[in-house]
Symmetry: C2
Subunit: 289 residues, 2 copies
């Protein structure tokens, strides 16, 4: 998905609101705003928004003088989700369709997002999860979840593109229901907003149930041409690819292979592109599937 | 008032939403967005927001190839207000405090604004007016209105800095209650958003009850150092100055003389600066008055 002109005020907002969580110095925020404005003026809009997201994040980190400003927030959301994990696992097991329940929880986790206008940045995870368990499923609906269950059962290799910290703990509940030994989870290679890194995958215990690799980029998405050769090869050769979140959707919505997209819609631009509405819990099957 | 970093996303929004009223071509909107972003990157934030507003407006007009994109909207809002004029004049005359009612109507008119996030761009003027007649008055409250009435009665020369088209028709109701022959109304010198020009003052019939001059700038405010020498001299020498709207407030809040500010608050930045809330109907007396 290309970057749209509507992304410009949104990036300006991120450039200003993000840093304010970490500094009271208006001069620092102004310097960040100016530099982001200069990037917007020259950005190649054919590139997807997460490429600019990576640049904005580097600008913010440099001006704040902090490599990973969201480190504490990531740990906190991992912790909140880990506290809920045993009860949620039991809930999945007791539910009439455990796979569907696991998918719903994984998509609900995608609401934890410090980069999108519609992302949730408070600790009210439990409430969100209750909503997601009974909400309508946009995209392919619950039929798509059933098809995903069948497709994953047949898959010898599954590439699971993770999105955010906190969310990655709920991803574990879904990964536990995928064929043992089949799953490779890809996280970002460096800090970017609250996106999950290797440390978050480990805090979530994902290394116990899957292989964990890095994408090769510190961007809130998976822009294939910028990712590592290893990531690209795994993306090409996996029997099945599950992509979590808006940033991965924005970078892979026109990818040259079938991808299952699981995400919450957090802005109008992505809503239009996906044919959904802001707030929708989406399971989007591959066009050709 | 200086420009704040929060004005950056707001200007990006204006740069994109404004032009969309006039073109369906995303390439034109993108080109405007890029050029405005470049201006934001190098803007002197010590200047008040209306100076940048003037620049943004010139960029939009140039890319649209239209000198005065809001011309039809301005005529329409003047017409809507003119239709209400006889009934409102009667209402003022019948009210217990005609001067206060006239001030309330003039401030209500300031809600018509295509440049601010909280501006009203629909035709529901009558509704707005009903609200304004009984709303709380922020700033100095109704006591300030009474003091303004006394001060204007003593003033031999009053400079009335107009703001928007449509609004200027309601300004007429207040100007009719000021000392005959005392009032000079200043409008902008060239098209900028929906700000009132000489043609709007004439459509409102202001030339029948006041002298009409131009500010010397095509900016949505009155940045004295950029205005004509004539405007500056009248501003300096008038017995009393009434300033309508946010743009005039933003450019004159630290002016070296007493100014009465009448405005609706339409954004958080001005709200903080004025010590009011968004949506407030404000009558702000001079600090020393």
């Amino acid at each position: 998905m290309r970057t749209y002109v509507d992304c410009m005020p949104c990036f300006m907002n991120q450039a200003i609101r993000g840093p304010r969580r970490f500094t009271d110095d208006p001069g620092v925020v102004e310097a960040i705003g100016r530099e982001v404005a200069a990037e917007l003026a020259r950005y190649d809009f054919h590139d997807p928004p997460p490429v600019l997201g990576g640049t904005v994040n580097r600008i913010i980190s440099r001006h704040l003088g902090v490599r990973d400003p969201y480190l504490d927030e990531k740990r906190r959301f991992n912790g909140l989700a880990l506290e809920l994990l045993p009860a949620l696992r039991e809930r999945i097991e007791r539910s009439p369709d455990p796979f569907e329940t696991a998918v719903r929880l994984a998509v609900a986790g995608n609401a934890i997002d410090f980069g999108s206008p519609g992302g949730r940045t408070d600790g009210r995870l439990a409430e969100l999860i209750e909503e997601a368990l009974s909400a309508d499923v946009a995209g392919g609906g619950t039929a798509a979840i059933a098809r995903l269950g069948e497709a994953t059962a047949r898959a010898g290799s599954i590439l699971y593109l993770a999105d955010n910290a906190g969310e990655i703990v709920l991803d574990r509940l879904l990964i536990e229901r995928l064929p043992p030994g089949a799953v490779t989870v890809a996280v970002r290679s460096g800090p970017v907003i609250n996106d999950a890194l290797r440390a978050d995958a480990e805090q979530a215990g994902l290394n116990e149930v899957a292989a964990v690799i890095e994408s090769g980029v510190a961007m809130p998405g998976t822009p294939l041409d910028l990712c590592s050769a290893d990531l690209r090869e795994r993306f090409r050769s996996a029997d099945l690819v599950i992509s979590k979140g808006q940033g991965n959707f924005e970078t892979l919505s026109e990818a040259p292979r079938a991808v299952w997209f699981l995400l919450m819609i957090k802005c109008e631009v992505v809503a239009r592109h996906a044919g959904c509405a802001v707030g929708d819990l989406v399971v989007l099957p591959p066009a050709a599937a």
